[in-house]
């Protein structure tokens, strides 16, 4: 058996997923013995042209991280799909939209405005917006256009596997790599790099089980008891509705789970499942009391769907036909350069 051809790509992401792979450390040497990295923008110097030049299916496995935010993301996603036998949505962004997809709540115009003008740390007195095309002495610069919506990889191309996590835990990454190397990937369509059940299964904290909360605290508002269930202390912990796999890392640091490992097996909409679980933990004996508890949940949408908005029912609801047409229309110059649907 020859060496495997492995590709890693980052679309719109923070780079954390690439770091997670780098974090494999010495395992990378083991990996190098059995696989060639044929494309990895964050670490190696291959060009898109190199990929274009490959035969279709030439890459054995592509780990694709990052969400689909720009025309470029979409373009490369389609390219890599063609070139890869196995395409893995790697990390929360490509799997379910993650933080970038929260911008879908207010839309692209709001996001641009916020990022370019309103952000308190931005100084932009001339109100400069990045231009799609810009004439330079060296010639015309063309930037890839922004899509109206942030999408998951699977919303653009068919995906074979998904690896959750923001970012995936390196031990889980190595498990995925091992499965690839040993050719022990399960049948297509499932999750890779996870453990059974939910974060609570791995959480060592003591759950009393009957305590309900009368208000919620944001993490900075109290110092929680490190041994007791955070939810029972009024901290909105996403553990019950989050797939196990991280080893309850945040919780060990006395911080609540935020849900980056996505929904448990068989659960379609993580936010809805979390909402149900959180509501079950309220104490409220009247409408007024309930409103009181509810008022302590700041930003329910962002809290329940912090990582999974792009892959949620709400995203489907939000997207009216105009916006949801999966269109990557260019923003700045109004050119109608549509990417194939």
């Amino acid at each position: 058996m020859g060496k495997l051809n492995l590709a890693v790509y980052w679309a719109s992401s923070c780079g954390g997923c690439d770091i997670a792979i780098v974090e494999l450390g010495e395992h990378l040497l083991e990996l190098a013995q059995v696989a060639d990295i044929v494309f990895w923008p964050a670490a190696t110097d291959f060009k898109y042209d190199d990929v274009e030049a490959m035969e279709d299916g030439a890459i054995d496995v592509t780990l694709f991280n990052g969400s689909i935010r720009t025309e470029e993301d979409e373009h490369i996603a389609r390219l890599l799909r063609r070139k890869s036998k196995v395409l893995v949505a790697f990390g929360s962004c490509s799997m379910e939209g993650c933080i970038p997809s929260l911008s879908n709540i207010k839309g692209i115009d709001y996001a641009l405005n916020r990022a370019m003008f309103e952000n308190p740390s931005t100084v932009n007195p001339e109100k400069v917006l990045p231009q799609r095309r810009f004439g330079m002495p060296e010639g015309e610069l063309i930037l890839p256009g922004l899509c109206n919506q942030v999408r998951t990889l699977a919303q653009v191309v068919p995906v074979d596997y998904k690896v959750p996590g923001c970012p995936p835990h390196y031990e889980q990454v190595w498990k995925v790599m091992t499965a690839i190397i040993e050719n022990k990937l399960p049948s297509r369509g499932g999750l890779l790099g996870v453990d059974s059940r939910t974060v609570c299964d791995q959480c060592p904290r003591k759950r009393e089980g009957k305590i309900r909360v009368e208000r919620f605290f944001r993490p900075h508002e109290i110092v929680p008891d490190p041994d007791r269930c955070l939810l029972e202390q009024g901290i909105l912990c996403a553990g019950p509705a989050t797939h196990a796999g991280c080893g309850a890392l945040c919780i060990e640091a006395n911080m609540p789970c935020r849900g980056c490992y996505g929904p448990p097996d068989g659960v379609v909409d993580q936010g809805a499942a979390l909402l149900g679980a959180i509501v079950a933990s309220f104490e409220g004996k009247s409408d007024a009391e309930i409103r009181q508890v509810l008022s302590t949940i700041v930003d329910p949408l962002g809290t329940f769907y912090r990582f999974s908005f792009a892959d949620s029912f709400l995203q489907q609801l939000k997207a009216n036909p105009e916006e949801a047409g999966r269109i990557c229309a260019s923003q700045a110059d109004g050119s109608e350069e549509e990417v194939e649907q």
């Binding site: 609570c200 089980g209 448990p264 909409d269 149900g276 679980a277 309220f282 949620s312 029912f313 939000k318």
Partner: protein, 330 residues
């Protein structure tokens, strides 16, 4: 005929010595509780007055072995109406405690825990209005884990735990997710395009109705008769059973609005089910607002024991609100 030697006079003392049973003999059988009781609508053999009366007479075995004593869900609708101020559900509890000691058990089916999936996260134990779920540590597939376990003698089968479980580990046969989803979509109702999608003349409403919130058979019949292409009714064991994912799913399909009808504050058949249903819808409303979607597309409404023919009005109001607040896609 009941012979006097079958009447165990000590049973009265036994019940009254049990916490909650103190008021047994103050009952004079006026029947207010029986006429109030909603369980009777589904099971005419259940009659709280008769149970108290039999216990007072000393029909010990008949009372303890009857299935009826397990049916009172302590909704306490009768308690504030009782002219003798007897806390009937407490008396029932006292009788049940004796029955439990004697080894009697209520009839099933009960919610089942899929121990393979259960993480022991304690969401269900907190959700349960009756503290009927415990977490137990046991060996599952050779691994020692903590999982949920239902205490049959306390469970009222409301299904709140099924809705609360975030990983789908809890299931109750008659009101499973699959059962509800199939009722929602029967006849392809959900697949038909909605008003907002430009596919229907009028907004299409999916209503989840708590079975206890509609208090008379006559009314149920009328409400059932309203079902149409525009209106789908799915009855729930409790509004606390409603699953936010189902609401959202329906909205992404052919339902323009989802109406959840539960019992009035203080009248919930399962004590806190109404609050759970209401909270879920309230959070959904908040999230829709955050998204810039008309929050009138979901609504939680109360139907009290004294409300009659309220439901058609609720549907009508919802239809009007949706029409008023949402621009129609041409």
């Amino acid at each position: 005929m009941i012979r006097s030697d079958e009447l165990d006079r000590s049973f009265v003392q036994e019940v009254m010595a049990e916490p909650g049973g103190e008021h047994l003999i103050t009952c004079w059988s006026c029947g207010t509780c029986a006429a109030t009781c909603l369980v009777r609508r589904f099971d005419p053999s259940f009659n709280p007055r008769l149970i108290l009366h039999k216990a007072g007479l000393g029909l010990r075995e008949e009372v303890l072995s009857s299935e009826e004593i397990w049916q009172c869900s302590a909704c306490d609708l009768c308690y504030p109406r009782c002219p003798k101020q007897i806390h009937i559900s407490e008396v029932m509890k006292a009788i049940r405690n004796i029955a439990i000691r004697e080894g009697y058990e209520p009839p099933g089916p009960f919610p089942e825990v899929d121990e393979q999936i259960c993480s022991g996260c304690a969401v269900c134990t907190r959700a349960c209005p009756y503290e009927a779920i415990e977490r137990v540590t046991k060996v599952v597939d050779g691994e020692e884990r903590t999982v949920a376990q239902v205490t049959k003698t306390l469970c009222m089968k409301c299904g709140i735990c099924v809705a609360a479980c975030p990983s789908g580990a809890m299931n109750l046969e008659s009101i499973s997710d699959r059962e509800l989803i199939s009722r929602m979509g029967a006849g392809g109702w959900l697949e038909k395009p909605g008003y907002l999608q430009g596919g229907a003349e009028e907004p299409r409403i999916l209503a989840f109705v708590c079975q206890w919130s509609i208090h008379s058979d006559r009314e149920w019949e009328k409400i059932r008769g309203l079902e149409s292409d525009q209106l789908r009714i799915v009855n729930l064991s409790c509004s606390g059973r409603v699953d936010p994912a189902m609401i959202l799913m329906a909205l992404t399909k052919g339902a323009d609005g989802v109406l959840v009808v539960g019992c009035k504050e203080g009248e919930c058949h399962y004590q806190r089910g109404t609050y759970l249903g209401r909270s879920k819808v309230a959070l959904l409303e908040q999230m829709l607002e955050q998204l810039g979607i008309a929050k009138s597309r979901v609504r939680f409404a109360e139907s009290g024991s004294l409300d009659r023919f309220l439901f058609p009005r609720l549907v009508r109001e919802m239809v009007e609100e949706i029409k008023a607040s949402v621009p129609v896609v041409a």
